[in-house]
């Protein structure tokens, strides 16, 4: 359906539908099918049958506002063309506090874009109301550039959260760094109370982080910047040093340093709640991964005993060498590639805080003993996904028995469970269900 939001066409539509004042309750009921109105609207409509002056057009502002808050933008825009009062509500600042700009090109995306007229409207009329802003861009550079152009215009704003999200390939990386950085710093400089910034896969750099710190150090709570290759360990250290309210941080392993962990654990710093670390290598054997001292991890845990440490690994087997040699307080572990027996064995030994473990694949041998050791030593483990890791049925049963009901999530593909003398697949299903106290099946893939 076409969607125009320029005022002229609204006015035209309004003129075309001047009967909107007598918008009947039955029509209203039809509308409610699509969108849930709070229950008291219903009483309003039955009351209107008694008091004839009271029509849908006369609903108090706050009621319409409440309804509007439950509508999607498109529905809201349509409703706003019903009558002048509803149109007024359409522009109430409350409804413009949060906005998601969607920028896609027909050649690269199946999704529609936010209409350019609406974007202009927002910049003109509602920029100062925006607080929670996100940009979703497809894989086309032009979309990312368009996002930067909008960012550069967000001058009179008090944005609190900003998210730049690539829905496909990361196109912000294709924007010239200077264009991106200057657009981003417009927001950093003008909105003085940013609390949450999500800029994964962008060309953000150290100087722009300095601008962020200079303007928003008191308010910043969340910073996600996985895979931002232009940031250095010193750049992120500066953020940690200055932004004592930082509670969540996402970054790549090469930015993680002992100094950073110590800065996050300083007395002035609030407790860190979530730390997400992506460990990615470009070419096998070429990247040497540094190690983090146990004392730095210990300092972090002493300061923030509840912190979630989430690590995503996308490494070749031979690159795991430096990891988990000593006790590591990781809570969530994800392995995107095959993991060796040795590595999984170390996890069982050295990750006592582990809560969730996801391993997509193993090497060439079943993982029985390693899993059993994990069950034994990782007492907080409540979720495990084993994908296509080969395990014998007996080994798997042993693991499940040891963990018992605390496993909220248990996922393994049926085809990698190796039947043995003790159990076949059917028995596994019933035995595991018994142990977990709920019906459980292995994951299946169609045989097609």
């Amino acid at each position: 359906m076409p969607f125009y939001v320029d005022e002229e066409s609204w006015n035209k539509m309004k003129r075309g539908r001047s009967k909107c004042q007598s918008f009947t309750p039955s029509e209203g009921r039809k509308k409610r099918h699509r969108s849930v109105a709070p229950p008291y609207v219903q009483t309003g409509s039955s009351a209107s049958q008694k008091l004839t002056e009271e029509t849908w057009g006369n609903l108090p502002h706050h009621v319409v506002l409440h309804i509007f808050q439950h509508l999607s933008l498109v529905d809201r825009a349509r409703a706003s063309s019903v009558c002048r009062r509803w149109n007024d509500v359409f522009h109430i600042p409350d409804l413009w506090r949060k906005f998601e700009f969607e920028l896609n090109q027909p050649a690269t995306s199946y999704l529609r874009s936010t209409h350019p007229d609406l974007i202009q409207q927002i910049i003109k009329r509602h920029a100062q109301h925006l607080q929670y802003v996100s940009f979703k861009v497809d894989s086309c550079t032009e979309s990312a550039e368009a996002a930067c152009d909008i960012l550069s215009q967000l001058v009179n704003c008090t944005i609190k959260t900003l998210g730049l999200i690539s829905t496909a390939r990361p196109s912000f990386m294709d924007v010239s760094q200077s264009h991106f950085v200057s657009a981003l710093t417009v927001v950093f400089v003008n909105s003085k109370s940013l609390s949450s910034i999500k800029i994964d896969d962008t060309p953000v750099d150290d100087p722009s982080l300095k601008v962020l710190v200079a303007n928003n150090s008191d308010t910043l709570k969340l910073l996600k910047m996985s895979s931002c290759p232009h940031v250095s360990p010193a750049g992120i250290l500066c953020v940690a040093d200055q932004c004592h309210g930082l509670r969540e941080l996402a970054l790549n392993y090469h930015l993680l340093s002992d100094e950073l962990l110590l800065a996050l654990s300083s007395e002035k710093h609030v407790h860190l709640e979530h730390l997400r670390i992506d460990v990615v290598s470009e070419n096998p054997g070429q990247t040497q991964f540094h190690t983090i001292k146990k004392s730095s991890w210990d300092a972090l845990i002493r300061h923030s005993p509840q912190v979630n440490i989430v690590m995503y690994f996308f490494l070749y087997e031979e690159e795991f060498e430096p990891f988990f040699r000593e006790e590591t307080p990781v809570t969530h572990l994800y392995f995107g590639r095959a993991v060796s027996k040795d590595m999984l064995g170390r996890i069982g030994l050295n990750c006592p805080r582990l809560v969730e473990l996801v391993v997509c694949a193993n090497g060439l041998e079943p993982l029985d003993e390693e899993l059993i050791r994990i069950a034994e030593r990782c007492k907080s483990l409540t979720a495990i996904g084993l994908g296509e890791c080969e395990v014998t049925c007996s080994g798997f049963m042993e693991f499940v028995k040891m963990c018992g009901g605390r496993l909220n999530q248990l996922s393994i593909m049926e085809e990698v469970l190796i039947p043995d003398n003790t159990y076949n697949i059917e028995q596994i299903h019933s035995e595991v269900s018994k142990q977990l106290g709920r019906i459980w099946f292995p994951d299946m893939m169609p045989t097609w």
């Binding site: 995503y312 694949a361 996922s411 039947p419 097609w448």
Partner: protein
């Protein structure tokens, strides 16, 4: 009264277990067996030469078998709606029979033909034999919606009576009773066309692997059962390197074209099992492949948008990339990943690939690496894959791309490691990509990592003789896992079901959460995303304790310090979900979890 029957072959290209054909013969004075080159098939540019060859061979075989019964096959060129009025008049037809087609397109086409037949005073008789069960019956048993998890489907099937027993093959006696005059110019008017006639150049590819036809199908069935009897093990066979090659006991294309009746396959398996296992009744898993087919047929029968994302109520809306160049590399086996390229080459050359290979290339195209829509992959399979049924093809692609049927999305197949575990020596790759045949085992799955000296020794320089990998798998899988997370975190009805999606993040002191309903309405505009505050997950996607209402994720409810996972599925949320097909799926899933 004179009865002149026409049996219309579409799928079901066989004389054994063909109830509709039996109905045509029953008390008839004349019977003509007709195949119409249907525009959906003939007019579609999207059908490759291997599929055409398989079809024509099946028709040839059918004609040969009918000749032995003193009859012939009539291959009529045209569209059914044009052809039938002419045939009705010319042959004075009084009865039309055909096999039931449960797919939305087929149902629509058949309804039009039935109506037309009525106008000409022609009785129509339709029999369901392409699937073991009538999909509508399964839907009825599942509270009038198709089961959306395979387990649920199996549970329904368990409650059903056994499929109907297959019927014997058509006999000479039966045919003799309704002997039909064959004109001298039959071959000219109604002969099976050749590939050349259909515009294919066929020189140089005589060594095709799968020969179409009922005769071949029945031979293969015997071999298939012999092998099962010899192994005497009804567990799923372990997958080895050998599994990747076309097997002389493979049956899937024959089931697709109906050269083999699925009921005959079913009952043969069942009898063999009972013979070898002392009459114990066989487990459902014995019929795995057949049941998957039924599952997808059932899911697709009432959903005309089953083969696309938009407007498909069971399909998760995912912001796939449009990337024709990357798609072409995948489809033509030029990705630079030998495992993927070998599979796509086998598919193109032979028309069949092992189901693990299907998983590998489907994952690579969609959520694993290229982030291209499953619809594009489905179309390529439709062109090349001999056993690509509309329902099964679309359903499997949705499954493998985690677009439907409640999948865990965390797991994606590695285009290097997955193949290597199945076939460590790389024989499969050497067979389909001869350029790489001299690579040592160590590098055959990742030739770009081979030192230059090794590449030279193997006479194949990566980047010159064989493409460099088109994508960095580690990087793309990292990105794609995040994209999937974004998508799944916005699906309230998947809450608590997926690993990774519930890895915690702090909550924004933000707006009241958007209700499920507004999300639903925004997705009807083709935009899967809901406007949510940024910087973290939408507040209502945070795993919360089962007893808190979803609105508790609102102002002030800051990070839950300790993550509490819902055990099973919060029952409260049931009342929130709308009565869409998805919602029913959730309830199913819930049932299964509890």
């Amino acid at each position: 009264m004179v009865v002149n029957s026409v049996h219309w072959f579409r799928k079901g290209l066989r004389l054994h277990d063909n109830p509709a054909l039996q109905e045509a013969l029953n008390g008839a004075d004349t019977v003509r067996c007709v195949y119409i080159l249907d525009p959906w098939f003939a007019g579609s540019v999207n059908v490759g030469v291997n599929r055409w060859r398989f079809l024509l061979e099946s028709l040839e075989d059918l004609d040969t078998s009918l000749r032995k019964l003193n009859s012939r096959l009539f291959v009529v060129r045209g569209q059914p709606t044009d052809v039938f009025p002419r045939l009705f008049k010319e042959w004075n037809v009084t009865r039309l029979t055909f096999e039931y087609d449960s797919e939305p397109y087929g149902k629509e086409r058949d309804a039009a033909i039935i109506k037309m037949a009525q106008e000409y005073g022609v009785d129509t008789v339709v029999r369901n034999t392409h699937t073991l069960y009538n999909p509508d019956r399964i839907i009825e048993m599942n509270n009038h919606s198709p089961p959306l998890t395979f387990k649920r489907f199996q549970a329904i099937v368990n409650r059903l009576e056994l499929p109907r027993k297959p019927l014997p093959t058509i006999t000479q006696e039966q045919m003799a009773r309704c002997h039909t005059q064959i004109s001298d110019n039959h071959d000219d008017r109604y002969g099976v066309p050749s590939l050349e006639e259909l515009g294919f150049r066929t020189q140089g590819d005589s060594s095709h692997v799968w020969k179409g036809g009922e005769t071949e199908a029945l031979e293969r069935l015997n071999k298939h059962l012999d092998r099962k009897a010899w192994v005497a093990n009804f567990e799923r066979p372990r997958i080895t390197a050998q599994s990747l090659f076309a097997s002389p006991t493979g049956l899937s294309p024959y089931l697709r074209f109906g050269c083999l009746s699925c009921r005959v396959f079913y009952y043969n398996l069942r009898e063999l099992y009972m013979k070898l296992r002392r009459r114990s009744s066989p487990p459902l898993s014995l019929f795995g492949q057949l049941l998957w087919r039924e599952f997808f047929y059932t899911a697709g029968t009432n959903n005309p948008n089953f083969d696309r994302m938009e407007g498909n109520p069971i399909c998760v809306q995912i912001p796939w990339d449009h990337n024709p160049e990357a798609l072409a590399k995948w489809a033509e086996g030029r990705t630079g990943f030998p495992w993927i390229d070998a599979i796509m080459t086998q598919l193109r050359q032979e028309g069949w690939i092992h189901h693990l290979a299907r998983h590998a290339v489907a994952c690579f195209l969609t959520r694993g690496d290229l982030w291209i829509s499953w619809e594009s992959g489905m179309k390529v399979f439709e062109e090349l894959l001999l056993d690509a049924d509309w329902s099964v093809n679309a359903g499997s692609w949705m499954w493998l791309s985690c677009s439907a049927f409640f999948q865990q999305f965390f797991h994606c197949y590695c285009p290097v490691g997955f193949g290597r575990r199945t076939d460590p020596s790389g024989d499969y790759i050497r067979r389909y990509i001869p350029k790489l045949k001299d690579y040592p085992n160590r590098y055959i799955y990742e030739p770009w990592n081979a030192p230059e000296s090794v590449q030279k020794a193997a006479n194949c320089i990566v980047g010159v003789d064989y493409p460099k990998p088109m994508i960095n798998h580690a990087e793309s899988s990292r990105l794609n896992i995040e994209r999937m997370k974004q998508v799944y975190q916005q699906l309230s009805h998947y809450r608590g079901l997926s690993l990774l999606a519930s890895v915690p993040t702090i909550q924004e002191e933000a707006e009241p959460p958007m209700s499920d309903d507004s999300q639903a309405s925004s997705s009807t505009t083709g935009q899967p995303s809901s406007p949510t505050p940024t910087g973290s997950t939408p507040p209502n996607s945070e795993p919360s304790t089962p007893n808190t209402s979803p609105t508790d994720g609102a102002p002030g409810a800051h990070a839950q310090r300790k993550r509490v996972r819902p055990s099973g599925f919060p029952s409260k949320q049931k009342s929130k979900v709308k009565h869409t097909i998805e919602a029913k799926g959730v309830e199913q899933k819930t049932d299964e979890k509890q």
